[in-house]
Symmetry: C2
Subunit: 391 residues, 2 copies
């Protein structure tokens, strides 16, 4: 199921190496309402700088995206290259260049192979409609092991629309966002401000609550395009369909972010961390991320080792207010730490850890705030992948 | 060369497993002046809580230290056990229990095997003088691969004294300090406040500027004992020998901290990171630690991959003020990034990375502040060691 009024194509541009589709185009038949969220890293890739400016208009019609090269740390030439890419696509499509967004992911610091991209653009446009949204999801993969796509139906009055999202993730995943590109497309008409508000909230509840390795990328981008092909009256905060539409975007970003963590570089397990009983949400988040980013916790989970002491150590240095003698820790439903000391159930805990998904619940017993973070374990495979990613 | 007036012994208490010396005693023939620094982790091990109280007196005569069990997250029983250990040693030595410090390192959350420790204490005291300071350094190793010891001669007037330090490190090494125990002994008399000030400064310049995995331990302790056997007039800030003594403590802590990083769990390379040209020292430190703790930077160094883009990404998310277009990066003396863009010398850089020590210099070109951090690479071996440390 794909939102109506969008066309897709992919091409081989041999950006990093030949033999794979590494260039994709997303095109809406008409000018769409767009909202976007970008990395908060101070070092931003050229296409991110470009798109931030374009997104201010709230309008868009096409997204050209490549894997293999991030076009980050490429100076003025990088900015020229990103602009030129948008211009070339716009010229072929005969639309305003301001409506064309550019997204890149891959190696940092290497100039874009512009000639190879240029020669593929006519083909991309000629082939629009031949590829599926899933083909685009596949073309934007870097170290991902599977394409990530989620879609939802939404009833708007008598009509039925569709919201679909794709993303790529894998490494360098940390709030806010990740080496993460996400495109959400819908044929439902949505008023611009409403769309922006929904996106910001959804990102905060999903992509900003996952971490693979604590590294935040220069290229993170989430773009949502609503082209209104369904023909409904644009959704606002007062529309009957508002809640259902909002929920579909939240569900899509949450499910995609979960997929990203499951597919974390070298990951063998998904770890869901919930900190509750914190004095306030900031503390809960700080504590949850300290545990989620601890290499010692992540390797212990990998090794099925109920080494909860590392969790307490991470809570202790997190900066959040904690009292050792108040802390409870659960693995699944099993209490392993009661008020700061062992419950003597490590053997049973080791059994629970053998599952592919581990829920760690931490109750600080100091207040009522809570925070959830998804992460994955740290394995030899992560080291192997990242020791030789570039070369 | 060992400071005069100190005796050492070691014993096998099978704390984690049998067949190794895991208990050690350091004893000064007379009451010594002591100063100490402890972990800033809010979750502190029982012996740390105990020693913090004792150190307020500025006096000490013995340190009993064990590996294999950290006596952390062990609740009230843990505190009782730590106190009892000090009491038992004091009773056998016939000294005031307030003069006996207890240090532990090893697994968190497991009760101390007190019976096995108790039965070894008479032997420890009987054997005082049989072991060397290096034997103690060996007994406190956990995942360390070599004992760490440094000594310096210091001239005080017509006399010559000695300062010697031992430590254990390996994993969970991050400021402030680490799973790190360090004992510095000297036969030179030093006034208490002067000793305290020198220690704080030395720790700030050494142990607080190293990181292995970003995890900070619950047990970090540095104790310096000055027993005055040399017979000099106690050194104060005004003494002629002050600078030389101060330098010897700084050199010892710096050399020991470098050994800790070299011996980081699974480490194959030492990485020295210098950030200069920062607006202020806080920014320089924040930036340096973000690079030093980045798993992506550490794996790239392991793989001899000059992926400097990961360095720029880490600087960008560090929170420090940076301007991409101002940043220079050097590997050794080779400039790899000039004003935010590549110098095209990646191939040469890859060659430099094959050395066992890599110096990464980052000039933010925004001000005059600088900061140095030592770290190591991240390898499959780190993951292996930490996935199965407890079980």
């Amino acid at each position: 199921m794909t939102p109506k009024g969008f066309l897709f194509s992919t091409a081989e541009a041999a950006i990093k190496y030949p033999g794979r589709k590494d260039l994709a185009l997303i095109y809406s038949n008409n000018e769409a309402v767009i909202a976007a969220a970008f990395t908060t890293n101070k070092v931003k890739a050229a296409p991110v700088k470009l798109d931030i400016k374009k997104a201010a208009s709230g309008k868009g019609q096409a997204i050209i995206v490549n894997s293999g090269n991030a076009n980050a740390c490429t100076g003025k030439q990088g900015l020229k290259d990103a602009s030129l890419t948008a211009d070339m696509v716009a010229s072929e499509l005969r639309i305003n260049p301001e409506l064309v967004y550019v997204c890149s992911t891959g190696v940092i610091g290497t100039p874009m192979p512009m000639e190879r991209i240029r020669t593929r653009i006519p083909e991309l446009i000629d082939n629009l409609g031949i590829s599926s949204m899933k083909d685009v999801a596949r073309a934007i993969m870097t170290t991902d092991t599977f394409p990530k796509i989620v879609h939802k139906k939404v009833k708007v009055g008598s009509r039925t629309g569709c919201v679909a999202g794709i993303c790529k993730g894998a490494g360098m995943i940390c709030p806010n966002m990740a080496t993460m590109l996400c495109f959400i497309l819908t044929d439902i008409a949505v008023e611009h401000k409403t769309l922006g508000r929904i996106l910001v909230e959804a990102v905060r509840q999903s992509f900003n609550r996952i971490t693979v390795d604590g590294d935040m990328s220069t290229n993170d981008t989430v773009i949502v395009m609503a082209n209104g092909t369904t023909g409904n009256r644009p959704i606002t905060g007062k529309s009957e369909a508002y809640q259902q539409f909002r929920k579909s975007v939240h569900d899509i970003t949450y499910e995609l972010s979960k997929m990203i963590v499951k597919d974390g570089e070298g990951a063998s397990k998904l770890i869901a961390i919930e900190v509750k009983g914190a004095r306030n949400e900031k503390d809960a988040g700080t504590a949850a991320f300290a545990v989620a980013n601890s290499n010692l916790v992540k390797t212990a989970v990998y090794g099925n080792d109920p080494n909860w002491g590392r969790i307490l150590a991470a809570l202790g240095y997190s900066g959040a207010t904690v009292k050792e003698e108040n802390i409870d820790v659960f693995f699944g439903k099993l209490k392993v730490v009661n008020r700061g000391v062992t419950t003597g159930s490590d053997e049973e805990a080791a059994g629970i850890m053998k599952e592919k998904e581990l829920k760690i619940t931490i109750n600080l017993n100091l207040g009522k705030a809570s925070f959830n973070v998804l992460t994955c374990d740290l394995t030899e495979e992560y080291v192997k992948e990242n020791a030789t990613y570039k070369t």
